[in-house]
Amino acid sequence: MELQAVLMAAGGGSRMTDLTYNTPKPMLPVGNKPLMWYPLNLLERVGFEEVIVITTKEVQKMMSTDPKMKPDVKMKLDVVCIQEDGDMGTADALRHIHSKIKTDVLVVSCDLITDVALHEVVDLFRAHNATLAMLMSKAHEFTETVPGQKGKKKTAEQRDFVGVDESGERLLFMANEADLEDGLSIRKSIMRKHPRMHIKTGLVDAHLYCLKKAVLDFLADNKSISSIRGELVPYLVRKQFSKTINCPNIKDDADDQNLKMNDGSTNQELVISSRDEPLLQLAQERSCWNDHRGDMSEAYHGGKLRCYVHIMDKALCYRVNTLAAYIDANRLAPKLFEEPAVHSTAVISERCQMGSDSIIGAMCQVADKTSIKRSTIGNSTTIKEKVKVTNSIIMHGVTIEEGCNIQGSVVCSNAFIGRGADLKYCLVGNGQRIEPEAERTNEVIVGTDQLMEI
């Protein structure tokens, strides 16, 4: 078998707590499908037959009852539950399932919505015998107004600095702004090998990684690494240019190198080797190909550890981890699949004005004289007469009484909007009741129990 897929669906959604305090992030509806359906659909389309899903018990329960998951996802899902306390990072989760992994691994995050041609990433992984291959995308500006946001909070808080070589495929440098307090420093050894480096900051990490099995074995021994994105990937990118990997015969310097690396307690070295190593060496020697030119070294500078990145610019790629991303994704996700905009079981009266870019979920009831434009209506929602819904996201089980005007808002599941309410750019939390004739603008309406949480 070539690759095993692992879906990380235990994330807490820490940046959109208003939405996730009741519904776990993997089950948030986007275009009336749970968020984790999208990466599963991507894997299924490409040809995977089995996926290991790492998630919490709550999500597992919801998965088994959700009408979308069972018929649509034909792959075999091997669900592994972990504790919900949130102490387990993504790398810890991989360590947890280490015994199930028999070959190289493709790790996908549950909040990724994309239509990338996955073979581009995997081809880099295969062709160059890479240790890590990841996907990044040019960040899109979020155009929709985010409800509940007071003022412009548009600054990118934590930029990622990504350094790639001339071809745009080899990953040379990766660091987060938070780690670069003293400025960006690049080692001379890297500059000597790759004198031309492009440093990009406007990239969004899709959290899709192809990892070699050796990396997982390394993770199993090194318990200090707990996050793939935060620790493992920068470590691997740095390790590409470390001397110990490239010169395995210099064993006495290994300890000095370890200290210099300043990696804490990484006691076990990452050993990348393959069966029939000498034969592979011979083939590479005899091949008249080099990945760079201008200096005297052989292909890949003789390094065995290689990290590659595929940067896509035109295709759709969203990571739904903030409210703005969630709203944008709801707009664009329907383009990914060709389901009819109006579900067959929805009951829509004839005098309803529905825009073509709206989606109505199953078993909805939409009464007369309503106007629904650019919105997503969830399953089992009831919309009474003379309601105007524009640019909004209505989740499942919501009841909207007559005469309401909802604009640019997000209404979570099982909410109740009283008659004549006027909501502009609001976020109505789960199960909330909006009293009739209420007028709310740019507010986050959540329950008191949510307010108590920190």
């Binding site: 078998m1 493709l106 073979h119 081809d123 062709a127 015998n129 069966r275 034969l279 083939a283 008249c288």
Partner: protein, 524 residues
């Protein structure tokens, strides 16, 4: 020339046979005679035994002739069959003698199997299978391989069917082809075959997918490198192979390898050295006795592969280096073209043996492989000069010898190598500079070719597009209907331009290649 002489008893029909094999135009009387004989054979269907025995007589003789028809049955796309030049002549033939060919081939196979097993079962099987076996007429009409008949829609349909059966996707041709080469495939590097197969590839072993990708992207390039990488991938396949129940390893493994070979062929047409390596492996696999345990059989195959690489690549390179060093004297100026792993090895060895010489590296677009050769030589300390092929006639007065590498050596003494080699050989001949070709014997192939058109490889035409000062002139070349971009990979050099071929069997003239082939066949 093509030394495929089938010397037989009956003279008249043999004459026709000879003419067919040599591809001469059959005269009217000969054609009439052929037709009469066919009718006679159909009547003589009952006389199997006599025919079969006569068949078996002819078999050892005809087996000596280039036996591409047999392996072509097993792996038509893998082994290059003798693509004889006169296409129009051979085409009407297959229609007539298809049944005879099949029967003849089957009978031949049976007899060979019988001779292998030394059993009596061979003969009666041959008699059973040889239905309308023509005793006198030996139908050795060569079938053209698929990869040089791309403009024939029937051939393409057959290929598509075959690939569908093996569950390998068909790679589509790209771009407008120059009319002279419209019979060859032309693929684009931006549309790899992996687009069409599922990501955790279940049909094809992951090592083979990786190899195919490396071939199509040019990461593994060069005849020796490709063969070594192929054998490495086969080692992984054999390691991961388990015999299904009720199957024999010797037959099932060969069947398993067929779709892999088709896949690799779709990624990039197989080279002659790869074809020979595949032939060797298939032979080794089918020679495994059925009572051998799986573990034992697998380890035996793995050691066979290692031995093959050792003998034919590593030791051969050493032997060739040893012979070539005698030819390099102090003060020599050696011209090399492109990046040949063997020639680089020779020069590095000679330098280590303290010979004083300098090298001129000639390079050509679009591959610019000479830069890699330059790097390897300069890294060792050899003083080099670098020119493009357009400057070859200006630099040749300085040159004392030319060393060329080869992709394959054809049975008529022609050297198939990177495009541009024949140019260099021609100019060197004009300047009376000796041209030495270095080639291992495992690259010798039984094909016959006298020009570079009949069988070649077309690389991605977009490689020719270059961006200078921010402008790409050829960016929209596809929109110009009268413009075609041609990116040839190989060309053939006639033996008149080559003075010596240095092989691991010694230094031979170009015309001795068929002798070497015959010796190798007898050995096997």
């Amino acid at each position: 020339m093509a030394d495929s002489g089938v010397t037989d008893g009956a003279v008249g029909k043999d004459g026709i046979q000879q003419a067919k094999i040599e591809g001469k135009e059959l005269t009217k009387e000969e054609k009439q005679r052929l037709r009469k004989e066919k009718k006679q054979q159909k009547k003589n269907k009952e006389k199997n035994d006599e025919n079969a025995s006569k068949e078996s007589e002819e078999k050892p003789v005809s087996a000596a002739a280039p036996t591409p028809t047999q392996p072509s049955q097993k792996a038509p796309s893998a082994v290059p069959t003798p693509a004889s030049l006169p296409v129009p002549v051979s085409e009407p033939q297959p229609a007539k003698s298809k049944a005879d060919m099949k029967a003849g081939r089957r009978a031949r196979q049976e007899s060979e199997r019988a001779s292998k097993k030394k059993g009596d079962a061979g003969q009666p099987a041959a008699t059973g299978k040889a239905k309308a076996a023509p005793s006198e007429l030996q139908p050795v009409v060569k079938r053209l391989p698929e990869h040089v008949q791309v403009d024939n829609p029937d051939v393409l349909k057959k290929l598509a069917k075959k690939l569908e059966k093996q569950q390998i996707p068909l790679r589509l041709d790209y771009g407008h082809k120059v009319s002279l080469f419209s019979h060859l495939h032309q693929y684009s590097r931006r549309a790899p075959l992996t687009q069409q197969i599922g990501i955790p590839s279940t049909v094809i072993h992951p090592a083979i997918v990786r190899l195919g990708l490396q071939y199509s992207q040019g990461i593994v390039a060069g005849s020796n490198a490709r063969s070594v990488a192929l054998l490495h991938a086969f080692k992984q396949v054999i390691r991961d192979y388990t015999t299904p129940p009720n199957e024999e390893l010797s037959r099932d493994l060969v069947n398993k390898l067929k779709p892999y070979i088709s896949f690799l062929n779709q990624c990039r047409p197989l080279s002659a050295s790869m074809g020979n390596a595949i032939k060797y492996i298939k032979k080794e696999i089918s020679n495994i006795p059925s009572q051998c345990r799986e573990e034992e059989a697998k380890s035996k195959l793995l050691s066979c592969i290692e031995r093959y690489i050792d003998e034919n690549i590593i030791l051969a390179a050493k032997a060739i280096a040893k012979s070539s060093i005698e030819k390099i004297s102090d003060g020599d100026v050696i011209l090399v073209y492109g990046c040949s792993s063997l020639v680089n090895h020779i020069l590095c060895e000679a330098f280590e043996k303290k010979r004083k010489f300098r090298v001129i590296v000639v390079d050509s677009r679009p591959r610019l492989e000479g830069r890699e050769a330059l790097r390897r030589l300069v890294q060792r300390g050899i003083s080099c000069t670098y020119v493009l092929i357009s400057a070859v006639s200006y630099i040749l007065p300085e040159v004392s010898k030319v060393f060329l590498g080869a992709h394959a050596l054809l049975a008529n003494g022609y050297v198939m190598s990177r495009v541009g080699t024949s140019q260099i050989a021609l100019v060197a001949k004009a300047f009376n500079v000796p041209v030495l070709v270095c080639c291992e014997t495992y690259k010798f192939c039984e094909r016959v070719q006298t020009d570079s058109f009949v069988s070649n490889e077309l690389d991605d035409p977009d490689d020719l597009i270059v961006t200078r000062k921010g402008r790409t002139q050829l960016e929209h070349w596809q929109e110009v209907p009268s413009l075609g971009l041609l990116n040839l990979v190989y060309d053939v050099t006639p033996p008149d331009f080559v003075d010596l071929v240095i092989t691991d069997l010694g230094m031979i003239p170009c015309t001795s290649v068929p002798v070497v082939l015959r010796v190798k066949n007898v050995d096997q």
